[in-house]
Structures are given as structure tokens and as C-alpha cells.
């Protein structure tokens, strides 16, 4: 029984991190109808930024994640402004290909600069555990990342609902034409959205680095996880991303505990395909008009 509780706990904690990975991806998809296949490489790049800050300046990763987020925000803003905005209205496989090309460039760039070796950000406290009755261990690092991930996601909800910038983003997502008529500059708003998404991915990467290992080839996995969670939670739905993250975290953790071999890798895909077939608009519904056509 305690293995079950341990697996459940691990799944929930991992799910919080998954949510932070996915929430930006979901936002970009919901607001501008772009599936960003380079999202996972933003996550890994964020991990490298925090890793460098920790190695060279001795900055704690929980502080370093701010640096990761800032760097990735800037990169994301520029990529959207300079590249993605040029094909935003093209058929979907064009944007898919563009972001896949970006992904190749980023992943291979990281391979060249940082090599393909596994890395981790070392702290004195992340691997400590808090014992619970029944032999269940709560790893401190994972608990902290969970708390930060949930806090950042909730902060994003507040940003979207309460600030001018957030409202401009949501309005543009609902109806770009109408938002433009109200004086919202869609180009800037899209770039901001993409920047925020990349920044959140960067922060998530910093945290992945403190509780586990990372290397450039992980990028694809994080993109796929983001996709599954975005579909589960509903596009652009931030609470949905939290719920979806926990669902996937639990599914993977339980599968890892109870299935043999590498079956657990297939769990996220199985969940994805089933959900798409049963409820194409996601489990929780979406934050944007259903009526808007997927081109």
C-alpha cells in the first residue's frame, strides 16, 4: 500500500511541474492557434541557463529560474516577432514545420554548445526527504518545485484576468479582428504571449534541472507532454493545465510502478488518443470560443 501512496505522491508532485511546462504551450495554442513544437527545447534551454548561473555565479536554481524565465521570455518574444508572425495565417502544417525547424536548430545548437551529456543542477537540499508515516518519503526538492510551479501557474491566471496585458491577450485570443478594432496591437500581443510561454517553459526547465537530469534530446518529450496536457485541460485554460498535468503525472507514475518494460512511455499517448476521440475539445473545455475554426 505504501508503494501506491509513494507512487501517487510522486505523480502529483511531478504533475505540478508538468503543468508549468504545459501552461505556456496551451496559452500559445489557445490564443494564436499555433502548436509550438519548439516548446520542449525552450524548457531544456531554461534548464541550461539555470545550470550555467549555478555553475559560474553560484546562484541557487530557485533564484536562477528568474534568469531562465527572463532569458527565454526575450528569446520567445523575438522568435514570435521575427519568425512565427510571418506565417501565423498559413495552413497549420506550415507553422508546425516552422516550429519543428526551430526545434532542430535549438536542440542541435544545445548539443553543440553543451554536448549531449546528462546534466543536473546540484543543491544542498533538493535530495533531502521528509519521512511520512508508512515509509512514504516526500523529496524536498520536488515539494518545492511543486509549490513554485503551482504558484507561478496561479500567478499567470491572475495576470491574465486582472492586468491590461492579460486582458489584451485573452481578447486577442477570442477574436483578433475585434481586438484590433479596440486598438490592441496583435503583433505585439502575440509576441508577448509567446514570450510569456517561453519564459514559463524556461522556469520549468530550471526546476527540472534541480530535481532530475536533463539533456538536449529531452525536448521532444516535453513538447509531447505539453500537447497532451493542453488537450486534456482545454486550450488556453490554465486551471485545466494544472489538472491535466496532475492526471498525466499520476498516470505515468502509476504506470511506472505497475507496468513492466517501457509501457509507461506509452501511457501519455494512450490517454491523449482516447481523450481526443471521446472529447475532442478536452476534458475541461477550453477558454476560447469553440466556434473558432481550426484552419
Amino acid at each position: 500500500m505504501s508503494t501506491f501512496f509513494q507512487a501517487t505522491l510522486n505523480g502529483v508532485l511531478q504533475g505540478g511541474l508538468f503543468a508549468l511546462i504545459a501552461v505556456g504551450f496551451s496559452l500559445v495554442w489557445g490564443v494564436m492557434n499555433v502548436v509550438n513544437l519548439a516548446h520542449g527545447s525552450f524548457v531544456v534551454l531554461g534548464a541550461y541557463v539555470a545550470w550555467e548561473l549555478s555553475n559560474h555565479a553560484g546562484i541557487d536554481p530557485f533564484l536562477g529560474m528568474v534568469g531562465s524565465a527572463a532569458a527565454l521570455f526575450a528569446l520567445g518574444y523575438l522568435i514570435q516577432r521575427g519568425l512565427v508572425n510571418l506565417v501565423v495565417n498559413a495552413p497549420i502544417f506550415i507553422t508546425l514545420l516552422l516550429t519543428f525547424g526551430l526545434d532542430l536548430v535549438l536542440v542541435q545548437g544545445m548539443n553543440i554548445v553543451f554536448t549531449g551529456d546528462f546534466q543536473a543542477i546540484r543543491t544542498s537540499y533538493a535530495s533531502r526527504g521528509i519521512g511520512l508515516p508508512g515509509g512514504v518519503q516526500v523529496p524536498l526538492g520536488r515539494l518545492l518545485t511543486f509549490a513554485v510551479a503551482v504558484a507561478v501557474t496561479l500567478a499567470l491566471v491572475a495576470l491574465m484576468g486582472r492586468t491590461r496585458t492579460g486582458l489584451a491577450i485573452m481578447a486577442t485570443g477570442m477574436d483578433r479582428g475585434a481586438a484590433r478594432l479596440m486598438g490592441i496591437r496583435a503583433r505585439h500581443v502575440y509576441a508577448l504571449t509567446f514570450g510569456i510561454a517561453a519564459g514559463l517553459a524556461g522556469a520549468a526547465g530550471a526546476m527540472i534541472g534541480t530535481v532530475g537530469t536533463f539533456h538536449p534530446a529531452d525536448a521532444a518529450r516535453y513538447t509531447l507532454i505539453s500537447f497532451v496536457i493542453a488537450v486534456l485541460g482545454g486550450l488556453g485554460n490554465m486551471y485545466g493545465a494544472l489538472a491535466g498535468g496532475v492526471v498525466i503525472g499520476l498516470a505515468e507514475s502509476w504506470a511506472g510502478q505497475y507496468l513492466s518494460g517501457t509501457w509507461s512511455n506509452a501511457v501519455a499517448f494512450a490517454v491523449l488518443v482516447v481523450v481526443l476521440l471521446v472529447r475532442p475539445t478536452g476534458l475541461i473545455g477550453r477558454a476560447f470560443y469553440e466556434a473558432r475554426q481550426e484552419a
Binding site: V35, N85, V87, F93, L97, G261, F269, L276
Partner: protein, 347 residues
């Protein structure tokens, strides 16, 4: 071949029979036959290494034409197309290694298995549109790879599976570089002929109508479900045949390389570079990209994917409609302006 490209959008396009009036009905077939003969003649001029590269170009012609049927004609961007390639390859490997089948029937069955799989998953998946379809197919491909990975008794799992090709255990003797060159050439010719027939048939017209407006197509009496599923199964057939030949050529295959998502992406980018929904686009795209990527691989061992990624980004922004479309417009005297293309899709 040129004839086919320019006649495609002529008035009266797409309704089967008598469309190539300007060039004669048999012009494209004659051009195709000439191209096949030229490719056979070329073979004797190639080194072994070059032969392999050209053979891989032929293979990608098959794959790109396959993707074009569902992605280009019907407008359903499949991002899991490699699943057919992998299934075809593994069907061949399993039939030859375990059931001791000779290669040729295994090739046929591999194509049919992939086509049947396409029909099976197509029926539910093709109800999804846009990104949802794209990623659901990706999920199916990744999931299938994991299944293959875990059915170790049948597939050997991550340790790979080896086709018996040499010595007394061989069910069919290894074809050698010359043999595979011809096999891939034959498959490429088959793929082109299939695409050509689809282009000029009622079926091709239905797919184009579905692409342009599915609701309107349905209310014109087109059974959209049947047309889409057929296109997906046909694209699966081509993918399965290519995977079967590739497996026999490599002898030992692994789930990671037979279900590699980058093979799907190569198909898509080839079609986009060449011109999606056209007959010659996938052909041009496969030739161009496969040669470029081989050259990059040999010239820049470390940075070649980096450069390939950059090329994809630039191509997609500068010519999202594909070379065939721009050539056609240039011939009509409209010229080619990268800025005009960017203006079309930018925010």
C-alpha cells in the same frame, strides 16, 4: 513530367478522362517511363555510395507521395505517417524471421497491413480536424513504437530484429545495392503512377473538394468519410511498402529508427518545399531535400541538423506554397517574390 505539371490546373481539371488535352493523354505516362529508363541508365554511372543515396531519394519519393495523398490532397496533416513505414518494416521482418516467408510476398503483405491499419485508425481519427488530427496521429505513431518495443517475443523489442538474408537461413537472397536501387525505383514509379491516377480521377477531385470545404463537399454528395479513409489507407500502403524495402536493405532494424518522428517531418517538408497537393511537388521536394541533407551530413558532420533546421525555417517562410506553385505562377508571368508570399500569411 513537365506536361503533367502545367496541365494540372487547366480548366476542366480533376474530373477524370481527357484532361491532358494540350499534351495528349499519354504524354505524362511517356515522360514517366522515360524518367524510369533514365534512372536505370544512370545506375551504371554511380559508385556504390551514390547508388545508396539515390536509392534513398527514391524511397523518399514514395513516402512524400504517400503523405501528399492525405496531407496535400485531402488537407489532413498527418504527423504520425511514419507509423506505416514502421509497421510495414516490422511486418516484413517478422514474416521473414519468424514465419520464414520469402521477401516478395512479405513485401505485398506489409503494404496491405499498413493500408489496413490506415483504414482502421483513420475511421475514428479523421473525424478530428487541424492540429488535433496532426497530434492524434503523432500519438498513434509514438504509441505503436512503444507497443513494438514491448512485444519483445515477436519484435525483439529494443534489441532490434534481424531479417535472415545471408547463407542457408536466407528466405530470399539479399538484393545487393543494385537490387535495392531498382526496388526503390520501382516503388517510386508505382507511387508516382498512383498519385497521377488519383490526380485525374473522381477520387482526386473529391479529396480536393474536401480539402477546400468539407461541409460543402459532403452536401455535393461526396462521401467524405470514405474518401478520407481511402486516401489515408492508400498513403499507408505506400508507407508500408517503403518501410518493407528499407527493412530488407538494412537487415537489422530497431523501433527507434523505424518509428522515428523525423522521417514524418522529412516527408512533410519535402511536400511543402515541392508544392503540396501537386503531382510533381513531392517528387521535386524529395529529390532536393534528400540530396541537400546527404550533402550536409557529409560536409558538416556535427552541425548538419542545425543547418537543416535553419533551412526548414527559411523555406517555410519564403515559399510556403512550394516550388511547383511558384514555377507555375512564374510561367504565367506573375514572377516570384518572396515578399509577396510573406505578405500573404503574416500578421
Amino acid at each position: 513530367m513537365r506536361a503533367a505539371a502545367t496541365a494540372r490546373r487547366a480548366p476542366g481539371d480533376g474530373t477524370g478522362g481527357g484532361r491532358y488535352t494540350r499534351y495528349g493523354r499519354y504524354g505524362p505516362w511517356a515522360a514517366g517511363a522515360a524518367a524510369v529508363l533514365a534512372a536505370i541508365a544512370l545506375q551504371s554511372q554511380l559508385y556504390v555510395g551514390q547508388e545508396r543515396v539515390v536509392g534513398s531519394v527514391f524511397m523518399f519519393i514514395v513516402l512524400a507521395q504517400g503523405w501528399n495523398l492525405i496531407g496535400g490532397f485531402a488537407g489532413y496533416a498527418s504527423f504520425g505517417q511514419v507509423v506505416f513505414f514502421g509497421l510495414g518494416g516490422y511486418t516484413t521482418a517478422v514474416l521473414m524471421a519468424h514465419a520464414r516467408w520469402p521477401y516478395w510476398p512479405a513485401l505485398a503483405v506489409s503494404g496491405l497491413v499498413a493500408a489496413a491499419f490506415g483504414a482502421l485508425i483513420g475511421t475514428p481519427l479523421l473525424r478530428l480536424r487541424g492540429h488535433y488530427f496532426a497530434i492524434a496521429t503523432l500519438g498513434v505513431a509514438e504509441g505503436t513504437r512503444e507497443v513494438v518495443n514491448n512485444l519483445t517475443g515477436l519484435t525483439g523489442g529494443g534489441a532490434g530484429i534481424t531479417v535472415p538474408t545471408f547463407g542457408a537461413r536466407a528466405t530470399t537472397a539479399y538484393l545487393g545495392e543494385d537490387g535495392f536501387y531498382l526496388l526503390f525505383l520501382a516503388l517510386a514509379a508505382l507511387a508516382l503512377a498512383t498519385a497521377g491516377l488519383v490526380t485525374r480521377s473522381r477520387f482526386g477531385l473529391a479529396l480536393r473538394a474536401i480539402h477546400q470545404d468539407e461541409d460543402a463537399a459532403a452536401s455535393m454528395g461526396i462521401n467524405t468519410t470514405r474518401a478520407k479513409v481511402s486516401a489515408f489507407a492508400l498513403s499507408g500502403l505506400l508507407g508500408g511498402l517503403a518501410g518493407s524495402a528499407y527493412t530488407f536493405q538494412l537487415v537489422t532494424v530497431y523501433p527507434e529508427n523505424m518509428f522515428d518522428v523525423s522521417i514524418t517531418v522529412l516527408m512533410v517538408i519535402m511536400v511543402v518545399i515541392g508544392g503540396s497537393g501537386t503531382l510533381l511537388g513531392p517528387l521535386l521536394g524529395a529529390v532536393a531535400l534528400q540530396f541537400i541533407s546527404e550533402w550536409l551530413r557529409q560536409s558538416f558532420t556535427e552541425a548538419h541538423t542545425f543547418i537543416l533546421g535553419a533551412i526548414i525555417v527559411v523555406v517555410v517562410i519564403v515559399m510556403p506554397e512550394g516550388a511547383v506553385t511558384y514555377l507555375r505562377e512564374a510561367r504565367r508571368g506573375r514572377g516570384f517574390s518572396p515578399l509577396a508570399n510573406i505578405r500573404r500569411y503574416r500578421l
